[in-house]
Amino acid sequence: MPLVKRSQIRTKKTRKNIINKFIIILLFLSLSCVGLSAQENSSTSEPAVQEAREFNESRIQELKESGDFDYVERRDEPPSLLQRIMGFIGDLIGGIFRAATSTPLGKLFLYIALFILVLVAIIKIFSINIKDVFYGSADKGKTDFEFLEENLHELDLDKLLVEALAKEDFRLAIRLEYLKALRALSEAQIIDWEQGKTNYEYLYQLETESLKQPFKDLCYYFDYAWYGDFEIEKPIYDKAKAKADSLTQQATREEAKVA
């Protein structure tokens, strides 16, 4: 490359650098001038009037009185409506008691009232039925009617039997023979007589074998006559009576043995 051309290129570069530096300095100076002019403007303007604000005393008082800003815990709160009502009732009762205790009659009423209160409390606590107290305790499992008008052991069966035979009411007569035999077995302590037991249950109670068949036969006649409502003639009654007599005799013998 020729020497002249190299020097020309170097000159061009130097010139560019100089221009760049000039632009930077120019920018710096222009920005500095803007800042100085601003300072000059502010220093030359008049000072602002400062307004002194004051507290609004009434507003402060208002806020002080407001419950929203009261952070102190109150220990003695005012009584609620319920408490006030209870208090009123308490005062009323207290007044009555004070009035009652001031006279002998009042005292008497007071004692009666206290006694009733204690009685009610006892009844409630122990679940006592008032009816049971005054009318005797009714067995709840027991019904209010009885089929036998009287206790079996108190009935005059012989007399009733004579009357039934006189009327030729053999159905009733079989029933009475059956009841006589049942009573004899009970008195001999062969069976444990209870109103709720059926013939089958009595049969189970019989321990003596010789008693079982006559008892079964007698029950057969009784069942057909009494529950079956069959027509009963004298011959059938006689057969039933024979079974009943056999049972009664055996029961008497068993009773004598035990005695």
Binding site: K140, T143, F147, E194, G196, T198, W226, Y227, G228, D229
Partner: protein, 329 residues
């Protein structure tokens, strides 16, 4: 009490021989496969004659379902089995109306409840809504769907089973539902000898082979005729009072918060008549009532919470009541 040493003196006013013969044949057929459980079978027969339904309660594996199936086999009638499940809907039981596109109208498709003998297996597995669907059909023997009432054909007999042990996933039957069952029969375990016989039957593969070989012995016409006979069984007024006294006593007992209903009184009466007829008697005795009263009332009474906590059983309370009520004599 009807066994006599000599020749019986009284001739029955009703001809009950046909009934007894047929029932004996039924017992025999059922006994081919069912070992023991005589009392349960007899009570099922009583309920058929009394036009009542039965709830069988027992632990799994005591032949509840087998008994019901055998009973259906010995009666010449339609049989259907419904397995109650928690997702069963009333329409699955009663039936539903389906639109027929050819005829362009709704047609009623009867459910499995439309049969003669219905076995409802595990009734307490279905929710109350499905159980309540049985109210009308069990009491009035009719089903009302879409405003139309359809009568059931006779005989109509529901046998339901339930397991008393499992509580999870079961729904207790409401009182109104329980009241519709004539009996609640508790099915117990067999004796050792009976269990040996059961094993022998299985060893000889009798159950698998012979269920289809059970012969029907009772027709719907027979059942209708026997029901008429049972209706004519004599009951003395004193015996009626005895029933009323027993039922009334359940309403006053300290261990019960709910006593038996008047429907229970009627059930005792009807079942006692059937029981007497089955025993060849044309009249009811207090023995019959004592025997019938417990299965009739055990599901209709409710024990007090105190009694339940003490472990008292409703059977015990009913027995105590029956023992206290004076027998008419």
């Amino acid at each position: 009490m009807e066994q006599m040493e000599d020749k019986p003196e009284f001739e029955s006013r009703l001809d009950l021989s046909g009934l007894q013969t047929k029932l004996d044949a039924m017992r025999q057929e059922i006994g081919k496969l069912l070992v023991g459980q005589q009392e349960m079978v007899d009570m099922l027969l009583v309920s058929i004659l009394s036009n009542g339904h039965v709830l069988l309660e027992g632990v799994p594996g005591v032949a509840k379902t087998l008994t019901a199936k055998l009973l259906a086999k010995v009666i010449k009638a339609d049989f259907s089995r419904i397995q109650f499940t928690p997702d069963l809907m009333p329409s699955d039981v009663l039936g539903t109306s389906i639109f027929n596109q050819k005829k362009t109208e709704f047609e009623f498709k009867p459910g499995p409840i439309f049969s003669n003998i219905i076995l409802i297996d595990e009734i307490n597995r279905a929710p109350a809504k499905t159980q309540a669907a049985l109210f009308e059909v069990m009491e009035e023997r009719q089903v009302t769907v879409d405003g139309e009432t359809r009568k059931m054909s006779e005989p109509y007999f529901v046998v339901a089973t339930q397991n008393p042990i499992e509580q999870e996933g079961t729904y207790r039957l409401p009182e109104a539902q329980l009241d519709r069952f004539l009996f609640k029969l508790t099915v117990g375990y067999p004796s050792i000898d009976q269990e040996v016989d059961i094993l022998l039957n299985h060893h000889e593969q009798k159950v698998a082979v012979d269920l289809g070989a059970i012969q029907p012995v009772l027709s719907p016409a027979d059942i209708a005729a026997f029901k008429t006979l049972v209706g004519q069984v004599h009951v003395e007024p004193e015996v009626l009072k005895y029933i009323a006294a027993i039922v009334a006593a359940t309403r006053q007992h300290v261990s019960l918060i709910l006593g038996a209903s008047p429907r229970a009184s009627v059930s005792i009466l009807v079942a006692s008549k059937a029981f007497a007829a089955m025993n060849g008697r044309d009249f009811v005795t207090p023995e019959d009532i004592k025997f019938i009263a417990i299965p009739v009332m055990r599901h209709r009474v409710i024990l007090t919470p105190e009694s339940e906590m003490e472990g008292i059983d409703s059977d015990e309370v009913i027995k105590e009541i029956i023992d206290k009520v004076e027998v008419p004599r």
